[in-house]
Amino acid sequence: MGEANRSALNEFWVNLKSVPSQIYRAMFRGGAPVSDRTRSSFVFGNVFLHLHSVRTHLWSLRWSATMGLGIITTAAFLITLVTGVLLMFYYKPYPDVAYQSIKDIHFIVPTGRFMRNIHRWAANVMVVAVLLHMARAFYTASYRKPREFNWFIGWGLLVTTLALSFTGYLLPWDQLAYWAITIGANIAQSPREITDAMGITQFFDIGALQREVLLGSDKVGEESLIRFYLLHVMILPIVMAMLMAVHFWRIRKDGGLAKPVDVDARVKADAQEHYPVFTEEPKKTYQLAAVVKGRTPAVGSGPENTVPSMPHLFYAELGVLMFTTLICLVLAFVSDAPLKELANPLVPENPAKAPWYFLGLQEIVSFSAFMGGIGIPMLCWIGLGLIPFLDKETEGTGEWFGGPGGAKLVGWSMIYGFATSIAVEAFAIRFGWLREWFPDIPQLVITLVNPGTVITVLYAGFSIWALKRFNSTRAGALALFTCFLCGFIVLTVIGTYFRGPNWEFFWSPSDWSAH
């Protein structure tokens, strides 16, 4: 009997029957994630999951720690990636033909219209989420040592996200797209405002060079469309994916999310329900001790008050992913992505509006092209990037509105930020600006003194006051960041809802004059 069982044919039969379970075991070597040990190997044995640490601190799992904003951004990116690839099946990047192919996607391709709607909504969700995620990281003072570099990477991701949105805006080749990109490209040319004022444009025309490299021609045409398409589907997604990989990896290498110093005391009640793996603090991480100088972030702090990432963290992430998908699906179902008439280089759209998140910029661009389009945004971007190097205090790390001043200062900054930007805008709308009063005023004066720069100076002044009042760089940063956030909101709302034909002020779009 034993002889018969051991025959090769029988063995083959047994192997064949167990093929599915063998493949499963070959893929997941650790076995099912049922014990602390196998839950760990579930994470580090998986190329996609091992960017996470195997255990997650209870503090970081609280909803209020992150509100899931980073994962929402990631999820939205993945959704645009999938829908974007599907749209590429039918999209043809050539003027006029591009417009027809979007029409095809809209009316002929099965589910094409729905996919385009999802793509557009996921892109919008991504922009909102990335801005809120940045605000979260700022208000919880998570940019501080050792996370300065990751703030920097996040800053790059913000720029890449906006660049992806902007390049995608041209692709439908309709009136909206054409004129938004014409304006955008001319903003790239606006350093001319400065070189003209200095009288050096003929020797050093950086503005025209920027514009020509962006457009590949002297106006928005076939060369520009191919360039924007290449940036949108190839270059920027690759940059994005690389920055994202570094961003995620650094979270882990920097010791997880930022936490208050006394975090373990705070989560003690929750932690009693869980069993710590070991209670003694490790003095060194053995594998790195011989090669790496200094301490890795986990050394000296025991894994108490942590729980296995599988399932606690992963199920939360999965939930956020599903939530984001649901939001995009619902939005795509109720609202179609716009498509105006075919691009016409001779007749501008009136009003020609950029995507909503650039309308704040367009509002200050309508005072001075250089200051609104390049000067002030550059100042904001550089300032944002440098925050972790300018505020090196330690008070309040990991806590909402942590640091001197706290939530109260943020509240006052909000009131100040809203009030000043609304007041300056209202003044400019009601009484006009310098050129209306002094028609012969030199352009350089308008470039330097316009509502955009006035708001910026008022904000900077308030920030310096807060910095002195609380004798803290963090207080200055809280005031400035909050002010600029409020200014961004006010300008965006005005640009979106209160500007009509000829960029004039209207209380409601129903008052727009016929043109």
Partner: protein, 159 residues
Amino acid sequence: MTTKPTEKRSRFEPEPMPRRDFLGLAALASMAAAFFVSMFGMLKLPKAAVSASPAKKFSVALPDALPVGEAFVPPGRSVAVFRDGEGVFAISTVCTHLGCIVKPNANGFECPCHGSGFSKDGSVTKGPAPKPLPWLKVSKGGSGFVIDEEATVKTGTKV
């Protein structure tokens, strides 16, 4: 031996720069130099020597009954051509602010994008435009007049 035998060093902090490190650094530097030179070459690619755009010089036949002060816009061009007692002149209708096409009206021109206003001779009257609308070179020829969009002339030059 370059290091003094009295100097104590751990194996984690060896002597400052052994010869091998120097050679390695030299190789690295030459590689970086080669990389940057080739990058410079590649970066020239996105700017074509000649850009693809239609001819900038074109001829227009002005209608005989064009009233003084009324703009004639040649089809497919962003130019407004006028005729008065002193002659013919052409003003570009590309806004000097951000490149929208301005519309001739009773007082001059207005821009639909950011509300810049220009007088009849193209000078800025309101809004964010940093410069007046340029006057373009007009010469006799073709089917009446030839306009060169690339050549600007002094404001007030009439043919």
